[in-house]
C-alpha cells in the first residue's frame, strides 16, 4: 500500500470453508470479495478470526470469480477459528498489504514448501501457468499439490531444492525458513516470501521484524517478499 496506507478494512462474507478436492490437512477459506482488491500475488491480508484479539496474516491463494480464497493450516487457536467458519458468517479483512512478487521476470519458477504453497496458485493464475516444484513432509500434505496442476513434488526426506534445475531461473519461493535459506544459497536472485507473527500487518506494532541487510526490519513493510541477496 502506498499513499495514505491502510485506512479501513472490510467485512467479508464467508462463501465456503472446504477443500476443493483433497488438499491434505489444509483448509480453503473462500470469502466474497465485495470491493476488496486482490492485489499483487505475494501480498497478504489480515484476517480477523471472530472472538480473537488479533488478526492473522494470510497470503491470497487464488481468485475465483468474485471470491478470494485463502489456504490455511489450522495450527493454533486463531487458524482453527478461521477454519471453523461457516458459510454466511462474516469476518474482518484488511489488505492487500506489503510487497508481493515481481512477476515481470523471463523464467519464473515456483518453489513452495508445505503451507508455503499458499500464494502460488494466484501467482500461477497471473503468470498463466509456469513450472513449479513443491516439497511436502508427507503424501497426505502433498495432496495440496493439486492446487498447482503439473507441479513436480518432493516428499520428505527428499528436499525440494534437489529439484532445482541446473540452469538459472527466476525463483519465486515460499516455505519454511530452512527451505528459504537453502534456496537463497542456490539462487541468490530468488524472491523469497517470509512469514512472521504479526499483530497489525501495516507497520504499527513492530512485532514482525526480521533481519534484512543486517538490521531488524518490519516484514510487513519491507516484505513479505524479499530478494535473496
Amino acid at each position: 500500500m502506498t499513499g495514505s496506507g491502510p485506512v479501513a478494512g472490510a467485512t467479508a462474507e464467508v462463501v465456503e470453508v472446504t477443500g476443493t478436492g483433497p488438499i491434505g490437512p489444509y483448509t480453503l477459506l473462500r470469502v466474497a470479495a465485495g470491493g476488496i482488491e486482490p492485489g499483487i500475488p505475494g501480498q497478504f491480508f489480515m484476517l480477523h478470526p471472530p472472538g480473537h484479539v488479533l488478526p492473522r496474516p494470510m497470503s491470497l491463494c487464488r481468485v475465483d470469480g468474485g471470491e478470494l480464497c485463502f489456504l490455511i493450516d489450522a495450527i493454533g487457536p486463531g487458524t482453527r477459528t478461521l477454519c471453523a467458519l461457516k458459510a454466511g458468517e462474516r469476518l474482518h479483512v484488511l489488505g492487500p498489504l506489503g510487497n508481493g512478487f515481481d512477476l515481470d521476470v523471463p523464467h519464473p519458477l515456483i518453489v513452495g514448501g508445505g503451507i508455503g504453497i499458499a500464494p502460488f496458485p494466484y501467482v500461477a493464475q497471473v503468470l498463466g501457468g509456469g513450472p513449479a516444484i513443491l516439497g511436502f513432509r508427507s503424501a497426505h500434505h502433498a495432496e495440496a499439490a493439486a492446487l498447482l496442476p503439473g507441479a513436480e513434488v518432493a516428499l520428505d526426506p527428499v528436499l525440494v531444492t534437489s529439484l532445482l534445475p541446473a540452469e538459472p531461473m527466476d525463483v519465486l519461493a515460499c516455505g519454511p525458513e530452512p527451505m528459504l535459506e537453502a534456496v537463497r544459497a542456490r539462487a541468490p536472485q530468488a524472491q523469497l516470501a517470509w512469514e512472521a507473527p504479526m499483530a497489525c500487518g501495516y507497520g504499527a506494532c513492530y512485532g514482525c521484524v526480521v533481519e534484512v541487510d543486517g538490521r531488524l526490519q518490519r516484514l510487513c513493510v519491507a516484505g513479505p517478499v524479499l530478494r535473496a541477496a
Partner: protein, 281 residues
C-alpha cells in the same frame, strides 16, 4: 471542546499509516531513546486469551535521527506530535527533553516511565520528572505503570515534581507459554500485556489518580469501543488513547469517536467530556 483521541505510544507509525494518524487529534511517537535501538529479538508478539503480549523493546532511531529525519516528516503531515521519551537514567530523559526544547513542532513530551520490556532507570519516576522539568518548558506528561503498588502516591509525586499531566496506563508485565513445550513464547520470556483484559486495570488507575491529583489524564488500556472510552472518561480521563485496537482496526479512531458521541447522547450528555468524573461519586 470535545474528547481528544490519541494513539498509545508504539501502537501506530504515522509514516507508514498516515491515513490512520490523520483520524487522531494528536500522534504519539514510539518512545525515543538517546541512541538508536534494535529492540528485542523476535518472537516479539503473541496473542493470549484476552489480550496480547509485546516485547518490542523500544526499537527506534535514537534522538539524532528522530530530530533530523522523523520529526520533519511528521510535521509535513500537519500532525500535532506528542513525543514519547525513554531512557535508562534520569539524565537520558532530561537530555532528550533539552534537545526537544528547541523544537516548536512538539506539542507534548510524554515520559515513558514504565516500559516493561527494558531495564528501568534506577531513579524514581518523580526524580526523572524533576530532572526533565529543569531542562524543558514543554508540557510534560508522565506515563505510569499499572504495576505500581500505590499509583495515586506515584501520581502525587510526579505532579509535585512538575508533571503537567498523566498517561494511564502502560502495559502490565506478563508471559505466555507454548502449550506443547511449556517454554515462553516470547524470545525474552516477558512482555507487556495489553488489550481488553487491561481495561478494568486502567479504569481503577485512572480513578485512583483522578482522586489524588488535579491534572489532565490520558486514559488508555483495552479501549475497543465508544463505550470503553466513555468509561475511562467517567473514571477521570479527559483524553483517550487507542492501543491494541489499532492493530485490528485501522478505522478505530473514527468509529470510536462516533460511538463515543452516541453513547454520551444516549445518556443525556451533550458532550462526552461532561461525563468526566461521574464514576467518582
Amino acid at each position: 471542546m470535545s474528547v481528544s483521541l490519541l494513539n498509545g505510544s508504539g501502537c501506530l507509525d504515522a509514516l507508514t499509516a498516515p491515513g490512520v494518524a490523520a483520524q487522531l487529534d494528536a500522534f504519539v511517537t514510539k518512545t525515543i531513546t538517546p541512541e538508536p535501538r534494535e529492540g528485542n529479538p523476535p518472537v516479539r508478539i503473541v496473542e493470549t486469551e484476552a489480550g496480547m503480549l509485546n516485547s518490542i523493546g523500544l526499537q527506534g532511531p535514537g534522538i539524532d535521527a528522530f530530530l533530523t529525519e522523523t520529526l520533519p516528516r511528521l510535521a509535513a503531515q500537519h500532525l500535532r506530535v506528542w513525543v514519547s521519551v525513554g531512557g535508562f537514567s534520569s539524565s537520558d530523559y532530561a537530555g532528550i527533553c533539552e534537545r526537544l526544547e528547541e523544537r516548536d513542532d512538539v506539542d507534548v513530551v510524554e515520559l515513558n516511565l514504565s516500559c516493561p520490556n527494558v531495564d528501568e532507570a534506577p531513579e524514581s519516576a518523580a526524580e526523572i520528572v524533576a530532572a526533565c522539568r529543569e531542562r524543558t518548558k514543554a508540557r510534560l506528561y508522565a506515563k505510569l505503570s499499572p504495576a505500581n503498588s500505590d499509583i495515586a502516591e506515584s501520581a502525587r509525586a510526579v505532579v509535585a515534581a512538575g508533571a503537567d499531566g498523566l498517561t494511564l496506563v502502560n502495559t502490565l508485565r506478563g508471559m505466555a507459554l507454548d502449550p506443547a513445550t511449556l517454554k515462553p513464547r516470547l524470545a525474552r520470556a516477558f512482555g507487556g500485556y495489553s488489550g481488553p483484559a487491561l481495561k478494568p486495570v486502567a479504569l481503577a488507575c485512572v480513578l485512583a489518580c483522578a482522586r489524588a491529583v488535579d491534572v489532565p489524564i490520558v486514559g488508555l488500556g483495552g479501549v475497543q469501543s465508544g463505550q470503553d472510552a466513555l468509561e475511562l472518561i467517567a473514571a477521570g480521563a479527559s483524553v483517550v488513547s487507542l492501543g491494541t485496537i489499532l492493530f485490528t482496526d485501522p478505522a478505530a479512531p473514527g468509529r470510536i469517536r462516533d460511538e463515543l458521541k452516541c453513547e454520551a447522547t444516549a445518556r443525556g450528555y451533550g458532550d462526552p467530556l461532561e461525563v468526566r468524573g461521574v464514576a467518582n461519586g
